[in-house]
Subunit: 212 residues, 2 copies
């Protein structure tokens, strides 16, 4: 299997030429996004909670306090929608109607479950760290049992997922191209700025390789 199989839930209808279901595209967007939005329902009320996620194959993971309402709700196995979106810019056309945005987004559906075994929860948290900064976990003050206990890690096997991507410039009505109106793209991008060392950093600690 190399792609998700969309049901009515995840089959893209609107502008469906922008859709993809293959693992490469879906997982690539999930990995490119720094964080996601987790959708779940409590008493008929939907909630959309931003959180950091990480991935291993077809599984998503996220974590937080063992007292978290979001985590307590999703770990009961209710249906969840995890959406990861990247905004790539505004698209300016010659008519208001044809304005748009460039973006990459994934909507992933499944049911989350608690990782009960503390060793497995710790391994999942290590994977989160390894994905961001390989080698850092080993340098840190070791994790304590009570810290793992205070933490809930959940995992969701992706049952189905869709990607939707828009790229490129405006697409105008043929008659409008001759109009003297500026059209094009205002590209946007998430960047990482120079590191800010903690003021309490002890002297002589070099910046680790994984942060260069």
């Amino acid at each position: 299997m190399s792609e998700y199989n969309p049901s009515q839930i995840s089959r893209v209808k609107r502008v469906h030429r922008r859709a993809a279901y293959d693992f490469k595209t879906v997982h690539g967007i999930l990995d490119a996004a720094h964080f996601c939005h987790v959708g779940y329902v409590i008493d008929d009320q939907p909630y959309v909670t931003p959180t950091l996620h990480w991935r291993d194959g077809n599984r998503l993971y996220w974590h937080g306090s063992s007292a978290s309402r979001m985590l307590r709700q999703v770990k009961t196995g209710v249906p969840v929608c995890v959406t990861a979106s990247l905004f790539d810019g505004y698209v300016l056309a010659r008519s208001a109607f044809h304005h748009s945005a460039n973006y990459r987004a994934v909507m992933a559906f499944g049911k989350a479950k608690l990782i009960e075994d503390p060793a497995k929860a710790e391994a999942a948290l290590k994977l989160m760290m390894d994905n961001l900064w390989p080698g850092r976990w080993e340098e840190l003050r070791p994790v304590r049992a009570q810290e793992i206990k205070a933490t809930t890690v959940v995992t969701m096997e992706i049952e189905e997922a869709s990607a939707k991507i828009r790229t490129g410039g405006p697409v105008d009505d043929e008659d409008d191209y001759a109009l003297p109106i500026w059209a094009g793209v205002e590209p946007a991008r998430q960047i990482i700025d120079p590191l800010v060392a903690d003021p309490r950093l002890t002297d002589g600690i070099p910046i680790p390789d994984y942060l260069e």
Copy 2:
């Protein structure tokens, strides 16, 4: 009234010192975010759909196709959660447990309704444009009645909303500060890159002031 009044739905419990409910903070984050995630439920399944939003006072707006499943569902007046989040960087501590992220986020709750009057829908779309690029609406090829007809604009009065903000460096256990481990912030930011003109732009069209 200058702040939202949180019920059990929107009162922040986890790390509640990071919470705010005042209009200035909540609206400021909504305006700073380029887009949002709309959460809604169809047949017990939650969906989280990324979309562009705009604001007028305590009202949020968003738009799309009149055939959109998301818009058709939310305009029935079901409960909706609109979340707008900005990722401001990773926070690296001396223990894995104290790693964090800097962010600004708002979760806004209410019920959306359709703007039925085409003139009001058009005025709302003009506001979307005016917020982004003041003066552009007037320069464009005028909107057509059939374009407004193909478009659904919904509005949601914010019934309650919370903001949650984390800023600053790591907060470590006192004993860990002496450890020879790099700690600090890896700041992140969404930027706008230089404009990319449409290859079919007619010669001699200057870049409009609102894009400089």
